[in-house]
C-alpha cells in the first residue's frame, strides 16, 4: 500500500484541530478544578499529547474499538466519549458512564467502542487482540486499537500481544505514545534498542516511528495502519513521539525532567501550532476557531454542572455489577 494514499486534507486537519482543542480544553479544565479544590480526583494529564488521539478519532469509526490506559482521557475524547458521562464518572456520580464505580482510571463507553481503560501497564494490548479476533470472527473490517506508553513497551504482556497479533494476522493497531518518560524514568534508561518501532521487525510486522505531534505525519501513519488492518493485512506498531507537559500525575514533582527539555516541548505545543497553521493556510479563520473553542468551554461547563448536580451512589450499589446476578445483601 503506498503511504502517499493517506493525506490529511484541509477538512481533515481542521477536524483534527477541533478534536485537539476539546482535548486540550478538557485537560486544562480538569487541572483547574483540581487545583482550585472544587473536585478531587486522581488525574494523569495528557496535555501535549493531543494530536495522536485527535488523529485516531478522525480515522476510526464508532464500531472500531479502543483499549486505553489511565492516561487515556485524550484517547477517549478523541473517540467520542460524551462529556456528561465523562465528568460524572470523574467525580463518581451515578450518572457517570460507569455509575461511579470505575472512575478516571477505568472509564468505559462501549457505544463509541471505548471498551477498556486499564491502570495496569501494558494490559491494554492483550485485550485489544481479543476485540480484533472478534472482528475477524464477525467478518467485519473494524479494527482494534490499543494505546500504551513507552514504558509499557518493556512489559511482557505487550510483547506477547504483538506476537499473537502477528501470527493471527489480527486487525490490532498498537499505538505506543512515547512521551519519553515512564513515571520518573526516561525512555532511554529503561528501553533497550534504537527505538520501540524497531521491535516490530522481530514480529515481522510494520513498525513506524512517527512524530505524534505532527498531524499530517500522524494521520498518514495511522490511516495506513488502519487500512492495512481493515484489508486483513494484520497489525502495525506505531511509535508516536510526543511529550507530556505536566509530569506523571497531578501533583507530581517533575524535577526529574530537565527544565530545558520541558520548556522546549511546551514551546512546540502541537495544539496552538496546528491552530496557527490552519489560520496561516486559510483553512479556518481566527473567528471560526474562537467560536469552536468557546463552544467547547460551554460544553465542558455544562458537563461539570450536570455532574455536580448528579446523585452519589449508595453503599448498596456494591452488590450490583460484581456478577450479572446481584450479590445477596
Amino acid at each position: 500500500m503506498a503511504e502517499k494514499q493517506f493525506v490529511a486534507d484541509s477538512a481533515v486537519l481542521r477536524s483534527i484541530y477541533e478534536r485537539a482543542a476539546l482535548l486540550k480544553a478538557n485537560d486544562e479544565r480538569a487541572r483547574k478544578v483540581i487545583l482550585s479544590g472544587q473536585i478531587a480526583m486522581v488525574y494523569y494529564s495528557y496535555r501535549g499529547q493531543e494530536i495522536i488521539p485527535s488523529v485516531m478519532g478522525e480515522v476510526l469509526r464508532d464500531d472500531d474499538t479502543i483499549c486505553t490506559i489511565y492516561r487515556g482521557i485524550h484517547d477517549m475524547l478523541g473517540k467520542g466519549f460524551p462529556l456528561n458521562e465523562l465528568w460524572a464518572e470523574l467525580i463518581g456520580r451515578t450518572t457517570g458512564s460507569c455509575k461511579g464505580k470505575g472512575g478516571p482510571m477505568h472509564l468505559t463507553y462501549p457505544p463509541k467502542g471505548i471498551m477498556v481503560t486499564t491502570g495496569i501497564v501494558g494490559s491494554s494490548a492483550p485485550i485489544a487482540n481479543g476485540l480484533a479476533w472478534a472482528a475477524q470472527l464477525d467478518g467485519s473490517d473494524r479494527v482494534s486499537v490499543c494505546t500504551f506508553g513507552d514504558g509499557a513497551s518493556n512489559i511482557g504482556a505487550v510483547h506477547e500481544a504483538m506476537n499473537l497479533a502477528a501470527v493471527w494476522k489480527l486487525p490490532t493497531i498498537f499505538v505506543c505514545q512515547n512521551n519519553l518518560f515512564a513515571e520518573h524514568t526516561t525512555f532511554e534508561k529503561m528501553t533497550a534498542g534504537k527505538n520501540i518501532a524497531n521491535r516490530a521487525e522481530g514480529y515481522g510486522i510494520p513498525g513506524v516511528r512517527v512524530d505524534g505531534n505532527d498531524p499530517e505525519a500522524m494521520y498518514s501513519a495511522f490511516a495506513e495502519a488502519v487500512a492495512r488492518a481493515r484489508a486483513g493485512e494484520g497489525p502495525t506498531l506505531l511509535e508516536c513521539m510526543t511529550f507530556r507537559f505536566f509530569g506523571h500525575n497531578f501533583g507530581d514533582d517533575d524535577s526529574y525532567i530537565p527544565k530545558e527539555q520541558k520548556a522546549a516541548a511546551m514551546e512546540a505545543d502541537p495544539v496552538p501550532a496546528l491552530r496557527a497553521r490552519l489560520i496561516a493556510d486559510r483553512i479556518a479563520t481566527e473567528e471560526e476557531l474562537a467560536a469552536v473553542e468557546a463552544e467547547i468551554e460551554t460544553r465542558i461547563d455544562g458537563a461539570i454542572e450536570h455532574a455536580l448536580a448528579s446523585p452519589w451512589p449508595e453503599p448498596d450499589d456494591l452488590r450490583f455489577d460484581v456478577f450479572a446476578q446481584e450479590i445477596a445483601a
Binding site: S123, G130, L164
Partner: protein
Amino acid sequence: MSAVEKAAKPKVTIIEAISKAYQDAFAEDPKVITLGEDLADPEGGGIAKITKGLSTSFGDDRVRSTPISEQAIMGAAIGASLAGYKPIAEIMLMNFTTVAMDMIVNHAAKLRFMSGGQTSVPIVVRTMTGLGFGSGGQHCDYLEAWFAHTPGVKVCTPSTPEDAYGLLRAAIDDPDPVIFIENMPTYRTPMSFELPSSGHRVPLGQAAVQREGSDVTIVTYGRMAMLARAAADQAAEAGISVEVIDLRTIAPWDRDTVLASARKTGRVIIVHEAVKQHGAGAEIAAVIGEELFGALKKPVKRLGGAYSAVPYSRPLENAYAPDGDSILAAIKDIAS
C-alpha cells in the same frame, strides 16, 4: 461402590464428558470459541486431546492453537468476550495461571464492576492440575482459594462425568468469568454414567449431596470427593453414616446445603488437596463456626495439602495430600 457410582452402567469418563460438552456447546452456539496451547487439530487437539476434532468440525477461526503466551491467551479471551463471544481459554496447568493473574484478577474479574455493568466477560478458564504423576513442585498446585478470594470470578470443579458435563456447560452459559478446574488423575476413573444429554446443566453454586448420612458430614470437591465417597463406604462398614457433599462450585459455594448437613450431623470434615492453610476449607470452616455456633458436636476438621511445595519423590507425594486412609481416620476420629 457408593450410591452415586451405582446409578447407571459404565458409559463415559470425565474426560469424555468434557469433550462432549465442548462438542455440544460448539454445535449449539456459534459464539462459543476456544483458544490455548496445542488445541487445534494440526497440534493434536490439546495435550489431553480434549478438543480433538473440534477445529476440523468448527473451523480454525473458532478453535485456535496459541503461542506459549498465557497473558496473550487470557487477554484475547477477555477481548473477544467483550465483543459478545463466549471464549473458553485453556491455561494448560493451574500453575501457569500465575503468569496470567493480572488478566484474570485485575481484568476479567473486574471489568463488569469497573464499567458499571456496561461490559461483561463471559469466559471460561479451563485449567488442569493434579497430584500423582511425579511432576513435582510446579505442575500440581490447587489455587482455587485465590480465585475464590477474588470477587467477580466463579470457581468450579467436577468429580463425576455428569457434573463435568453439566458444570462446563453451565460455565460456558454463565455471563461471568468461571474458572473450571480439572483433576487430571480423575480423567479416566471408571465411573458409571450415561452420556449426559445436551440439555444437562449443573447450576453454578449448587452442591451435590452425593451420599446421605447422619453421623458425619464431609464437604469436599474434585478428586477428594471420589476418595470421600469411597471412605464413606468403608465407614459405613464400621457403622458410621457419612454424608458426602461435593461442593462442585467452590465460589460461590452452597452455604445452605453445607449448613443444613452440618446442622444435622454436628460433625464436619472439610477435605481438599490444596494447601490446608488459607485454603478454601478455611472459609467454609469459618462460616460453619459463625452460623452453627454451639450447634456442633465436634470441632470442624480440615484436611488439606501439606505446607510445602509439591514434592517429587513418590513417598513424599503420597504423603502430601489427604488420601482414603487419612479421610477414613478423620471420620473415625470425629465420630468417636
